[in-house]
Each structure stands twice: as structure tokens, then as C-alpha cells.
Symmetry: C2
Subunit: 138 residues, 2 copies
């Protein structure tokens, strides 16, 4: 019945974030590069891409992969949560590197709405601890 669309796994999250961050100006990314970034073999990466395609988050042709509009939104929302949580952790006394890897564990689970509320509570910083901008609205 329900195939749990709009629920995302950790691997899918990593793939979305890779596509968002490593291919800025609407440029496609090559499959083997995605595979290398995710540290998996190409068939495994392709498998992840296929799942993203089924969820309407990515499109691919001849190994060129791009995010759809919907995928871009999801990726940006993940980055919002990521940088918000990172900021919270750093303000609490966690090291930058530690904060980043911890954030990756939860940024695809925590809803963006909650992150925005947390962001306000911790003083609405404009940049994450690494100096990257925290996305405003979608």
C-alpha cells in the first residue's frame, strides 16, 4: 500500500547531500564520482540513485545525475537541519568535527520546522560553525 515516499534512508541522505554540495550550478554529477564520495562501488551507488529516482528526488541519464526540484528542496532542508543542529552542538561545547558527524546522523530525520524553531532559540545564527550559510526558507 503506502511505500513510504518522503521518508529517506541514511544512504539516500548522503547521496542527496553529495549531489547538492558537490554539483552546484545545476550541473550533473557522474555516477562514479558519487560512488567514490559515498565510498561504495558504482552498482551500489546506482542502486541508491534508482531509489531516489523512484521517490522523484533525482534523475539520471548515461551516468549523469541531477537532483529534481523536489530533491533540491529536500537536500536544502537537510542542510538547514544539519547546520542548525551543528550550531546547537557547538554552542553547547561540542567540537566542530564531532558536531558535523553527529549532525549527519540526524539531519535527515529531524523535520525542518523543528529545526527552524531550534534555530530561533539559539539566537538565529546566519552561519554554521564551518562558516557555511544556514538556508533561510524553502
Amino acid at each position: 500500500m503506502e511505500s513510504n515516499t518522503n521518508v529517506i534512508t541514511r544512504r539516500e541522505r548522503d547521496c542527496l547531500v553529495t549531489l547538492e554540495e558537490d554539483s552546484p550550478k545545476n550541473f550533473p554529477m557522474r555516477l562514479h564520482q558519487i560512488a567514490q564520495t559515498l565510498r561504495v562501488k558504482p552498482p551500489t551507488a546506482l542502486n541508491v540513485i534508482r531509489r531516489l529516482e523512484r521517490k522523484g528526488l533525482a534523475e539520471s541519464k548515461d551516468g549523469m545525475v541531477i537532483l529534481t526540484e523536489s530533491g533540491d528542496k529536500v537536500a536544502k532542508s537537510i542542510l538547514l537541519v544539519h547546520r542548525t543542529y551543528e550550531s546547537l552542538l557547538c554552542q553547547s561545547g561540542v567540537s566542530e568535527n564531532s558536531a558535523c558527524s553527529e549532525a549527519a546522523e540526524v539531519d535527515y530525520i529531524i523535520p525542518a520546522g523543528n529545526a527552524r524553531l531550534i534555530l530561533k532559540k539559539i539566537g538565529s545564527p546566519k552561519l554554521c560553525p564551518h562558516g557555511k550559510p544556514i538556508p533561510e526558507e524553502e
Copy 2:
């Protein structure tokens, strides 16, 4: 090689928390009661229990299930994270019920050490929004 001990799945988390909260004074819990609480059939619940046993977190005999000392520690640490995150969300403006279900999504992923730092940052409340005590140390 490494079988990912001390990493826990969502179902295992639910099972640990059920055992911790629904069977206080070292009393065993019946399998069918666990199954009902988790809203799964008994064989499914048994399967989860078996995984917890393999990880050294639970023990069972004739359908009587208890947490091991190790399992108790893990469960308490999950509750610490749960109530900390719940408190953070509520302070940020999220409703109690929403905060509770959101917290369950991440409380088994966020390390207790981080939760303690966050707890300090948000003013070291002694109780979660529901009025339950936030565990001190392990």
C-alpha cells in the same frame, strides 16, 4: 568482522524503552505484552528480543524478558537523550506530544554525552515536559 554491536535500531530502541518503562522493579515482562506494546505479532517481538540478547542487552526465559545491566544502562541513556531533546523542543515552541514523538526518532542515535551538554545549555531542567525526571549520570 565487526557486527555493529552497540548500534541499535529503532525497533530495538522501542523494545528497550518498553522494558525499561513498563517493568520497573527488575520484574520480567511477558513477550505477548511487549508485542502488544510494540503493535507487532509475538514472533516479530521475539525476533527483536533475540537481537537484543545477541547484543547482551536482554535475557529471556519462557517468554519472560528482562534487561541486562548493560541493557538497563542503554535504556536509561536513551531516556536521558529523549527527555533532553523533548525539553529542547518544548522550550523552542513545539507541542508536548509532537516533541515526544520527534524525540523517539532520534533519542537512540544521539550520544548521551552530547545530550548532557545540550541539557546544560538549556538550563539543566530536572524534569522533561511530561514531568518525568531526566536521568542524572550513568
